[in-house]
């Protein structure tokens, strides 16, 4: 009987088509990218360590958003989710950035000597810990395994999003079934490769340190920030009137609940990592936090506790906050900002012990990668339907949530 009802209403959902970006907005993105790239190149020439760390940080930030879009998509497929059908295509669009991840990684390969102390044989020799780790932490293996990971993300992402887009034409439910299997494979491979990538690109900056929770810490940041970005894009498209009659307060409420839940998840993981290291009190583990609790870094550590946990927690706690596009938008932007600061907190203390350096190179990196990210994602949304219009779950989601 629910089926019969769904059929009655499927004709009522009007395909909003694609999102044709105004040329002025595209101009802004291109301007951001050009200014950012010039600024980043200048920073790398003038102050190599600062420039390379800014590049690495912003590369990782936007790489995580692109992967987060794919991860959110996969989760919806494997759980057979209904609520998310109207916004899933927006999450899929983030994966349009993945080819740039390859370019970004290749550029980072040029900066390996500036970023990773384990790449210098004179530092490794005579240091028993680093000598022991050298069979894993060496340039050749580093480049190969990261290229493999990027290839896995790109190929699975293209297949996954390709199936979803192909369904727009004929509405064949077989694409959903295929993506369900594909998503299961992606989630397993993603867990392994993203852990590896975060260990390689972030944790190995201090090659002595290790934390068995670092991968899931990076993942917690990835998930909250990509949910925030998905919320931002959804609200922007809603305000443009493109999602009218498809996305309503109930879908925003769901996105808000998701962000709220994973704000807590981040705090849980971040505290667990800290508590285990604090409790065991082993010098080779505690130094990571010693660097970050001293001097200028103390303020950033406190900011993360407040900005990444308490502020979004209390901002998203009331029901009304999760159903109000304006408030949700502000919190989502704040979460993205806090994630960016978190990456500064992870990366910079390895180079600048005195305190954080947030200035021209970091902002230039944000403009460069952010401009390119927006260009790639809006190009995808400009050439594909912004809603998976023939998804078997769409009518149910629009109707079920439409009260």
């Amino acid at each position: 009987m629910a089926q019969g009802h769904t059929d009655n209403h499927s004709t009522e959902i009007k395909n909003p088509g694609s999102w044709k970006l105004e040329s002025s907005t595209r101009g802004i993105f291109i301007g951001m990218a050009v200014v950012g790239i010039v600024g980043l190149v200048a920073s790398i020439i003038l102050s190599p360590v600062r420039g390379w760390s800014a590049l690495l940080m912003n590369h990782f930030f936007f790489m995580s958003l692109a992967l987060g879009g794919l991860f959110i998509t996969s989760i919806q497929y494997v759980t057979n989710a209904m609520w998310s059908a109207p916004v899933r295509r927006i999450a899929e669009s983030f994966s349009a950035y993945l080819p740039v991840v390859l370019v970004g990684f290749l550029i980072i390969c040029l900066g390996i000597p500036h970023l990773f102390s384990w790449s210098h044989s004179e530092i490794v020799q005579g240091d028993p810990v680093l000598e022991h780790k050298a069979s894993y932490l060496n340039v050749t293996f580093f480049v190969i395994r990261n290229l493999v990971a990027i290839a896995v993300w790109f190929l699975l992402g293209r297949k996954l999003v390709g199936n979803s887009v192909a369904q727009d034409a004929d509405g064949n439910p077989v694409y959903t079934l295929r993506n369900r299997v594909l998503s299961g494979a992606f989630i397993v491979l993603f867990a392994l490769t993203y852990t590896m990538s975060s260990i390689d690109l972030l944790m190995s900056l201090d090659p002595h340190w290790f934390s068995t929770m670092f991968g899931v810490y990076a993942f917690a940041g990835l998930f909250t920030s990509s949910l925030a970005l998905l919320t931002i894009f959804t609200i922007v498209l809603l305000r443009k009137g493109l999602l009218k009659g498809i996305v309503n307060d109930n879908h925003l409420h769901d996105l808000g609940k998701f962000m709220f839940a994973f704000t807590i998840f981040w705090a849980y993981i971040a505290f667990s990592q800290y508590m285990l290291i604090w409790y065991a009190n082993l010098p080779e583990e505690t130094m990571y936090f010693m660097h970050r609790f001293d001097g200028g870094w103390k303020g950033i550590t406190i900011f993360l506790l407040l900005g990444k946990f308490l502020v979004p927690f209390f901002a998203l706690l009331p029901r009304e906050a999760k159903r109000d596009a304006g408030r949700l938008m502000k919190v989502a932007i704040w979460i993205l900002f806090a994630q960016w600061i978190d990456l500064i907190w992870i990366i910079q203390p390895e180079f600048f012990k005195d305190g954080p350096k947030i200035g021209f190179p970091e902002v230039a990196g944000l403009l460069a990668f952010g401009g390119i990210f927006c260009l790639m994602v809006t190009r995808f949304l400009g050439t594909h339907n912004i809603v998976a219009i023939k998804d078997p779950k769409l009518a149910e989601s629009v109707l079920h949530h439409h009260q």
Partner: protein, 217 residues
């Protein structure tokens, strides 16, 4: 056929049945939803909707206000948190300070798991208890009028208002009677046959009157 008196059923000396209300059954969640909206507009004193599974937006169609339960959860959670702070602070700092690995007595990172656990425990138990109280459960004076409303039937019930008997009215003074009458006058008057035909007009496929019956009656 023999003596007809053999077939005479034994009559129980039960108290006179009291009308609880009139129930209409609906075919699917959508027709229940439409009917609920119209029933609300009709302004009966009290009615309720029944479904085997939660229907999004039904509470809105019924015009139900948001429950105060979240505040119970919040209050109990904060109480649990404070209890954990006092319990651990008092035992490890005041009552019996122990040096563990050279760490301070007030080693808050070690206490955080208990902060969390007691917050969740208090909040969880209080929410369940509060839910039962808010819903007036368990209610031994009411029994399901049709077991199928937990399986595949959707129903609306217009409750028969509890009217005062002539005796009770006799005991009240004029002011109280006036208050009682004005309150009744705010709602559409309930009358069994009228309520039945009203539900039929809303699209109910089956309509019946329900008598008040407790669990052990």
């Amino acid at each position: 056929m023999g003596d007809p008196s053999v077939y005479t059923p034994v009559t129980k000396t039960a108290k006179a049945p009291v009308l609880a209300g009139v129930v209409g059954f609906f075919e699917n969640p959508q027709s229940l939803m439409e009917a609920t909206k119209k029933l609300r507009e009709a302004n009966y004193q009290s009615f309720d909707a029944f479904s085997p599974f939660p229907i999004h937006g039904l509470e809105k169609a019924q015009g139900l206000k948001r429950s105060a339960l979240p505040f119970v959860t919040m209050g109990a959670g904060l109480t649990g948190f404070m209890c954990a702070v006092l319990l651990q602070g008092w035992t490890s700092v005041v009552s019996w300070p122990l040096n563990v690995g050279g760490k301070p007595y007030w080693s808050w990172p070690a206490f955080v798991p208990i902060f969390f656990e007691l917050t969740v425990l208090f909040a969880g138990l209080a929410t369940v208890a509060g839910m039962l109280i808010v819903n007036g459960l368990p209610n031994l004076n009411k029994r399901a009028f049709d077991n199928n409303i937990t399986r595949d039937r959707f129903a609306l019930m217009i409750d028969a208002p509890k009217l005062k008997t002539a005796e009770e009215l006799g005991d009240m003074d004029d002011d109280e009677i006036l208050k009682y009458r004005t309150r009744l006058a705010k709602f559409k008057a309930f009358e069994e046959s009228e309520a039945k035909s009203f539900l039929t007009n809303l699209g109910a496929i089956d309509v019946k009157a329900v008598e008040q019956r407790g669990w052990f009656e």
